[in-house]
């Protein structure tokens, strides 16, 4: 696992002084904000990609998140660590994006499923065709990715924040705006669900 989010490193491998950069950025120092952004960029992108499951969307969304963070930085009071607050902004933006995309897809699907249309033709290839099963590991990876996608964005986010970012339950609760108990059960359910789907290919 990469260094914990509380101690990000810059391009030279030096630990970034986050509180100082946050303070400078709050006073309008763009260069400090740039340094902060670059220190967390990969993490935020990874988190967003984990939520939206689409690289281009994750790239666009992460730019949107950083512009938002710049404008909302005044509202960060320092009650929690900066990365927890940052992940909260990113998580909410990611989940909001997924909800809007889902609504959009539902509209598109309902239009595509009008009478006299072949329903199979509108399904993405990944849902209609099975992998060639060249190697079991590749199949496991494919099933794993599908299993991740079948999770709700909320369950997936909780699991990613725990497994990839190494956040504690309390930090995930702050980042996702829910209770600690909810975080606990979401991660448990996510693991069970993925494991159940992997069972068939092991």
């Amino acid at each position: 696992m990469s260094p914990h989010a509380s101690n990000p490193v810059n391009a030279d491998g030096d630990v970034v002084d986050v509180p100082r950069l946050v303070q400078l950025a709050k006073n309008g120092d763009e260069a400090a904000f740039g340094e902060l952004m670059q220190a967390y960029y990969t993490r935020v992108y990874g988190l967003l990609n984990g939520i939206v499951r689409h690289e281009d969307d994750a790239r666009d969304l992460s730019q949107h998140v950083w512009v938002k963070v710049w404008h909302k930085l005044d509202s960060f009071k320092g009650d929690s660590d900066f990365y927890t607050w940052l992940y909260r902004v990113a998580t909410f933006a990611g989940l909001d994006f997924v909800r809007k995309r889902k609504r959009q897809r539902e509209v598109e699907l309902s239009e595509a499923l009008e009478p006299n249309r072949d329903a199979d033709s509108v399904l993405p290839p990944s849902l209609t065709s099975r992998p060639d099963s060249a190697a079991q590991t590749a199949e496991i990876q494919t099933v794993f990715e599908r299993a991740l996608e079948t999770l709700s964005p909320e369950h997936r986010t909780a699991l990613m924040l725990r497994e990839v970012e190494g956040l504690s339950y309390d930090e995930i609760a702050v980042a996702t705006g829910c209770r600690r108990g909810t975080v606990m059960s979401r991660i448990f359910y996510a693991r069970k669900s993925i494991q159940a789907q992997l069972k068939d290919v092991r």
């Binding site: 960029y41 990969t42 990609n49 790239r59 497994e163 606990m184 448990f188």
Partner: protein, 170 residues
């Protein structure tokens, strides 16, 4: 202990969130229950797969910063230099807001304005029709009216020298 509970504890243990007392019990269970131990292996593998999932962003942080910087400046320019259309639109919105507030105040004042007749705002049809009637009882005042809720005709007999009123419904 039920398997489900043990699995729940296992999930918390993998995240370093299980209490030491429960952790000791779980460790004992893991040695006794091969299926639980297998579950632990599978969940550890899921964690590794999650971490292997993390992809590199399509652009370097430096390049991303250039884009974010441009976007920030654009958004600031939009705030700092509103277009003439935006100014006119803003004035219209401001004017409409003021008009709406004034209307609200006027409406509230009209409804709550003091009047000499306490029942002045109550429609005549809603007023309870009370009829004062003669009574054979000495020093008694009687009245008859129809109760709105029950639809019954109520006859009230009030005696000056008696503390309680006597009501009859028929």
């Amino acid at each position: 202990m039920k398997r489900e509970r043990a699995a729940y504890w296992l999930s918390q243990a993998l995240d370093g969130e299980l209490s030491p007392r429960r952790l000791r019990r779980l460790e004992k269970l893991l040695t006794e229950d091969p299926a639980l131990a297998d579950l632990q292996e599978q969940w550890l593998a899921i964690g590794q797969s999650c971490r292997a999932q993390s992809v590199e962003p399509p652009q370097t942080p430096e390049a991303a910063w250039q884009n974010v910087q441009r976007a920030i400046r654009l958004s600031q320019d939009e705030v700092a230099e509103p277009t003439p259309t935006a100014v006119v639109g803003g004035l219209w919105r401001w004017g409409l807001s003021v008009a709406a507030v004034l209307l609200l105040f006027a409406g509230t004042w009209w409804g709550l304005r003091p009047t000499g007749e306490p029942w002045a705002t109550v429609p005549v049809a809603e007023r309870t029709q009370v009829e004062w009637v003669e009574s054979d009882l000495p020093d008694a005042i009687s009245m008859v009216y129809e109760d709105e809720d029950t639809g019954l005709t109520v006859i009230w007999v009030m005696m000056d020298d008696v503390q309680e009123d006597n009501g009859y419904a028929g």
